[in-house]
């Protein structure tokens, strides 16, 4: 069913939804009603593979943008394979690709929701699939559009949230109104200089000297910490004073070849606005379930 067909049906009795029965019950209890399953796609060409190998031929002193950190070899001895310098750099072009993919796909989902006259989209699920080799990443968002029961028109841009059903109701009860889903990405590449390369390969300390002190690999630790800081800063910049709840932060590390590491941090969460005070929970009853 195309978007156009769906919006034609919006005022009829039938609807589609990705909600479970208990979530559906919660939606009704909240005075909302589902109007349809909405989704948005966007496929982006990601150029990270090509650019990654290009970087190596660039000077460490190229124009800095985003996070860049240089590591200079302290040895001064020159051999063809000796890595005289190393660099941690933010792959802002990868981040831009992802951010645009997220933005386009979610805008399309919102567009569908708006056409259905929805006030919000709940139970959002997002997936990113990479067609490796082709260098294409596909972004996909879907969720259930809802409107206020008995109301036809939506006043403004629909809100979005990963929460659905009872959990969303609890958020309302806790004094929060959903604003939007938040996605953020950080991509940092590590091009190891001689010392990092040496340590990643198992250092040079003999395994047989039992008191050998182990060494922290500073360059990678810096890159990992920066990637985590960048992704959180990017999410924070989207909050405008609201709170971010239920955050999921996933950090992955991929070593393309020895001493060439890509770190990606992906963050998603729910931006919510405080509209009332927390009402303290009644002290919970401790129970033991007999089965």
């Amino acid at each position: 069913m195309s978007v156009a067909d769906q919006s034609g049906d919006a005022r009829s009795e039938s609807f589609t939804s990705g909600l479970s029965v208990s979530d559906f019950a919660a939606v009704l209890a909240m005075g909302l009603e589902p109007v349809g399953l909405v989704q948005g796609f966007c496929a982006m060409q990601s150029s990270s593979y090509a650019v990654g190998s290009l970087q190596r031929n660039l000077s460490p002193y190229r124009e800095a943008r985003g996070y860049v950190e240089n590591y200079q070899c302290p040895h001064g001895m020159v051999a063809g394979e000796h890595r005289m310098w190393g660099q941690n750099y933010e792959q802002y072009w990868v981040e831009e690709t992802w951010n645009q993919g997220f933005a386009s796909a979610s805008a399309r989902m919102l567009d569908e929701a708006t056409r259905l006259g929805a006030v919000g989209v709940m139970g959002v699920v997002d997936t990113q699939s990479t067609l490796a080799g082709a260098g294409v990443t596909e972004f996909h968002f879907r969720g259930t559009a809802v409107r206020l029961a008995g109301t036809d028109s939506a006043p403004s841009t629909p809100w979005t949230t990963y929460l659905s059903g009872q959990r969303l109701l609890k958020a309302f009860e806790a004094g929060f109104a959903p604003v939007s889903i938040v996605t953020a990405v950080a991509s940092v590449r590590v091009w190891a200089y001689c010392i990092t390369e040496y340590l990643l390969g198992g250092g040079g300390i003999s395994a047989w000297s039992q008191d050998a002190s182990t060494v922290e690999i500073d360059q990678v630790v810096r890159a990992q910490s920066q990637a985590r800081a960048l992704v959180r800063a990017s999410a924070r910049a989207q909050l405008h004073g609201d709170v971010l709840q239920g955050v999921d932060l996933i950090a992955t590390q991929h070593e393309y070849e020895h001493g060439d590491i890509e770190i990606q941090c992906l963050l998603r969460g729910n931006r919510a606005r405080r509209v009332g005070d927390f009402v303290p929970l009644r002290a919970p009853d401790a129970t033991v379930r007999l089965s």
Binding site: E173, A174, G203, G204, R236, L239, V243, V275
Partner: protein, 279 residues
């Protein structure tokens, strides 16, 4: 908050309607916070007078000497050192970040650890928390705990407080059997005493290190100890043991009983028939 928002309204419909209306009408006024806690956990935390402040992380990677995992005897000391150091640094960093955000502790710490042939890495992610509106404390007094916010709240309600993570790990080479022994034992059912001893002591070492860490934190107990053990994926003749848990002590004068009641759930048990155990 001029909108007539009444969270105690018995009618959920009215509550949602007013919340949405005031959400759309007003701009945010408070300080932005980030948290990976679920809404249930936020509520649990609030019930004991704490709040979430910020999502915090700690990461460390330590190099281990080349050739470490090839055949040898006894404990692989450097591997245990790298593991301990990586944990210590990652924990220190997550506490630093939490202290900088004005928090008193980190709950729900998600522990990821990986032992590679030439390096060991530890990644910690959790939510920094503090008693509502409380002031700053130095990083050394900020605890990191892998207990969920719910469990943290439950422990606090019973009079206990977390002090930090205690970790212990050890790696050993499996002892070799001589050819004679192999032939002799081939058709026998016997205990391999030297194996038992090697594995046993390695596990004991890991436990002992975890306990030492707990004592150093002035704890009186370690709860929810996780145990990861088994042969290393890249070197099957080496066996690794790692265990960690949250160090706790009684904060008040005595333990508060929870006095549970028994309940019978009317939910359908989601039981699948397991052909292997016939259960």
């Amino acid at each position: 908050m001029s909108a007539p928002f009444d969270p105690t309204a018995s009618d959920a419909r009215e509550l949602v309607r007013t919340a949405l209306a005031s959400g759309a009408a007003e701009r945010a006024t408070g300080a932005a916070t980030t948290s990976d806690l679920s809404i249930d956990e936020e509520l649990n935390l609030h019930a004991i007078g704490w709040e979430s402040v910020e999502l915090v992380t700690g990461y460390s990677m330590f190099s281990t000497p080349v050739g470490l995992w090839s055949w040898g005897q006894g404990e692989i000391v450097a591997a245990a050192q790298a593991h301990a150091n990586a944990f210590r640094m990652a924990a220190a960093r997550i506490s630093d970040e939490a202290a900088a955000a004005g928090a008193h502790g980190v709950v729900g710490v998600h522990v990821e650890r990986a032992v590679h042939p030439s390096y060991t890495e530890v990644s910690l992610i959790g939510t920094a928390v503090r008693p509502i509106g409380a002031g700053r404390v130095p990083a050394t007094r900020v605890f990191a705990s892998d207990l969920s916010a719910r469990d943290f709240a439950r422990l606090a309600a019973s009079g206990w407080e977390p002090l930090g993570l205690a970790v212990g790990a050890s790696f050993v080479y499996a002892p070799r059997r001589t050819m004679g022994a192999v032939l002799q034992q081939q058709s026998q059912n016997v205990e391999l005493a030297n194996y038992t001893e090697a594995i046993y002591s390695a596990r004991e070492l890991a436990m002992e290190r975890m306990q030492r860490a707990a004592i150093d934190l002035k704890g009186t107990g370690v709860v929810e100890v996780k145990i990861v053990e088994g042969p290393m994926a890249f070197a099957s003749h080496a066996v690794g043991f790692a265990m960690w848990g949250t160090v706790v002590r009684l904060a008040g004068s005595s333990h508060q009983n929870v006095e549970p009641t028994m309940v019978v759930s009317l939910d359908d048990a989601a039981l699948a028939f397991d052909a292997a155990t016939l259960e």
